[in-house]
Subunit: 218 residues, 2 copies
């Protein structure tokens, strides 16, 4: 395939910043702003203008002197790099409160990700419906992944169930895991499964630190 | 107050890593491991040993050559720096699915944070109970914060309601906001409110990027 991102590997640090650009650019498009300078973007995003120029140059998003960046072009390039248009499919395993918060969350659709199936182990939960999806038995998840070429499994399951569930998934064709279980999952070396561990508590603790500092100085 | 963190301001990058140390150290304590070398910690955490030594030296967590770090001491120092023992209080505004996922989540208690009140605008939700908390009317949140010296407000509300809600909170004695609304909230310059914006979508997109890369190379 002829894809820009294959010409040059973009650094992980830049990739981590791209979703933020994506969000800001989407906001600009919504507000009918079609051009933006690195200086303006810098003020909005609280990143230095030189960092922005460096980041965007990585994938050919060159601004024009005195004219700025083409917002729609940048947006589409970033969408492309992030795989937003690649028709990624996902399932959610664990339909507790966090699972439910995600099922109805527009964040998948906004990024071109289609939720194809919901799974749980609780007999009271299996068979309940969310939109046009009916919760299936978690023991059928592995088969479902292989049959339906599912790309990503979202794990909203208790910590205690995380490693066993992952071990089962590792035997399927799954490509990525979005892990909310608070267990740190590591991929075995002979597999190529991308794992994104979400640790909400880390973000909470960073906030607590700041708040504790304020309390002490008061 | 005689607090180590006041002697030397710890850099933001180190603070961001501390919750990970906190998690790993807690795990070690659970497994009755009382000593660990920077090399072992490095393998577990996937951070270089020299980075670990640098980070831990920041707050006086000096390891002993050939003997390693005292796990409990490090854990207690990090808890202290992160404000875990400071008895931080919080309320949750917005008892939809994400709010519910947080109400019942042990992540607050584990970090010494007490949830003091729940709030919503929906008359059907007001009056429902979670444990020993009854959901109150969101219009009473500001008064509750001031009366009860609440430190942190968790915003699990729709994006459209975020700025107005924040403007109301900014007039109270609140010290921090943990913001799940997907709206980027900025603190006015004349206020000192710490804001932690959670963007789950950013983490999802980083995963999508990796998955899209794998799909292309297959």
């Amino acid at each position: 395939m002829n894809n820009k991102q294959n010409d040059k590997k973009i650094s992980n640090a830049v990739i981590r910043r791209l979703p933020r650009y994506f969000r800001y650019l989407r906001e600009l498009i919504r507000n009918d702003i079609m051009r933006i300078s690195s200086r303006e973007l810098s003020e909005k995003m609280n990143i230095t203008a030189s960092q922005i120029r460096q980041d965007l140059n990585c994938f050919g998003g060159f601004g024009q002197q005195g004219y700025g960046y083409n917002v729609k072009f940048l947006y589409s390039e970033i969408s492309h790099i992030l795989g937003v248009e690649n028709g990624i499919t996902a399932i959610i395993i664990g339909i507790g409160n966090m699972g439910k918060a995600l099922v109805n969350n527009p964040l998948f659709e906004k990024r071109g990700i289609k939720i194809m199936g919901l799974f749980d182990t609780d007999p009271d939960v299996i068979g309940t419906t969310y939109g046009d999806l009916t919760v299936m038995d978690a023991k059928d998840a592995a088969g479902f992944i292989d049959e339906n070429f599912i790309d990503i499994a979202v794990l909203t399951i208790p910590k205690s169930a995380a490693q066993d569930t992952f071990n089962e998934l590792a035997e399927t064709s799954i490509l990525g895991i979005w892990n909310f279980s608070n267990a740190e999952i590591k991929c075995p070396e002979n597999k190529d499964i991308k794992i994104e561990n979400v640790h909400l508590g880390d973000s909470l603790m960073a906030l607590c630190y700041e708040v504790a500092q304020t309390k002490e100085s008061n």
